[in-house]
Amino acid sequence: MAQNDTVKLIGSWSSPFALRARVALHLKSVKYEYLDEPDVLKSKSELLLKSNPIHKKVPVLIHGDVSICESLNIVQYVDEAWTSDPSILPSLPYDRAIARFWSLYVDDKIFASLDAVAGAKDDGERMAAAGKLMECLAILEDVFQKSSKGLGFFGGENIGFLDIACGTILGPVSVIEAFSGVKFLREETTPGLIQWAEKFRAHEAVKPYMPTVEEFVAFAKKKFNVE
């Protein structure tokens, strides 16, 4: 794929996974056409179904005549296809392995525990799921402290792969916090993540694309028919 081939991104406004792709493309200053799927769970466009026939999910990156699916895959692809600075993945193999490992943890464990809290059928289930989520965030705090080495991001001085992977939990976490009245990211337990979250949201590659907490909560209220 030549760098100059057309680039399109199929995403959805509220999708944390689509956000990852947008941040990566912005970091690399890639010009692309953004195609929004307004109601992706209920109604999918022809183009989405054609370019991601197996999973039928956003985001999908279309570069020239090929499609790349799965958000973390897309971020790595963007890093490898556009080789100009900044690098998204760290440069050393071990640091790359750490970033990849923890991004898989976010997708496997953290999103699963967010879903468990949101989908809990009774208080007992909700408490158990909330406990699990707190544990996961405590682990992530520890990862942040080790990875950032006293600097602002998981990637150190600059935003990197693991920041992009983790940043996407912020929207769902803020929705759960608003609905439950419980703070999952707290000064006492996750001080590093609190500061990092602010920096991440404010970053020029994130801010234009990440819905605010208020917008997320309004969207979730409408989606789940809650006042």
Binding site: M1, N73, Y77, A81, P93, R100
Partner: protein, 224 residues
């Protein structure tokens, strides 16, 4: 003077996830110490190195632990650059990663659960789901010796360790016909090609013992 490389792999003989790492190390000619772990009696070393998941494989390289088989394979490829296992082209790399995830998530889940269903119809339904998924790999193999092209690559190691040298053994033990010659000629050709590669065949679990093990795991799953 070159620093002596210390490479250690914690694995389980029947695990496709650790077997694929052995294949990669062999393909690259990397000497390593192997530590056999047990599912039911995990060593203090494993629990210390992988406290989050408590699973194999764990690769230890000069004192640092690398976890999760796909992450380990990429680490090996980036650290020892000869005989590359990932393709060079970014799009081909993204396809390899995409299909590797499909193998280890959807194909593995459908495939394993197809063995555990008590009712025959349940087994058949899941076998059909698995076939539909493997059809994607069948299409990828057209005109190629291996999923990696001319030589064994990342996706061959992932799919090879998982499907012909793990799931198929389980299906054989259950008397389930899942991947047939008529519908999967490319897949069959690919397996024959894999069987000619020493770095692959040296690292697959012995068949009869593996079938017995898969039957045991299915039984354990059913009664849990």
């Amino acid at each position: 003077m070159a620093e002596k490389e210390e490479v250690k792999l914690l694995g389980i003989w029947a695990s496709p996830f650790s077997r694929r790492i052995e294949m990669a190390l062999k393909l690259k000619g990397i000497a390593y110490d192997y530590v056999e772990e047990s599912l039911d009696n995990k060593s203090p070393l494993l629990l210390a190195l992988n406290p989050i998941h408590k699973k194999v494989p764990v690769l230890v390289h000069n004192g640092k632990a690398i976890l999760e088989s796909h992450v380990v394979l990429e680490y090996i490829d980036e650290t020892w650059k000869h005989n590359p296992i990932l393709p060079q082209d970014p799009y081909d790399r993204s396809k390899a990663r995409f299909f590797a995830k499909l193998v280890d998530e959807q194909i593995f889940n459908a495939g394993f659960v197809s063995m555990t269903k008590a009712e025959q119809q349940g087994r058949e339904d899941l076998a059909e789901q698995t076939r539909e998924l493997i059809t994607y790999l069948e299409k990828e193999l057209v005109g190629k010796d291996f999923l990696g092209g001319k030589s064994v690559g990342f996706l061959d190691l992932v799919a090879g360790s998982m499907i012909p040298f793990c799931l198929e053994r389980g299906w054989e033990g259950m008397g389930l016909q899942v991947i047939t010659d008529d519908k999967f000629p490319e897949y069959k050709r690919w397996v024959k090609n894999l069987e000619k590669v020493e770095s692959v065949t040296d690292c697959i679990p012995p068949k009869e013992k593996h079938i017995e093990h898969m039957n045991f795991m299915v039984g354990r799953f059913r009664s849990s």
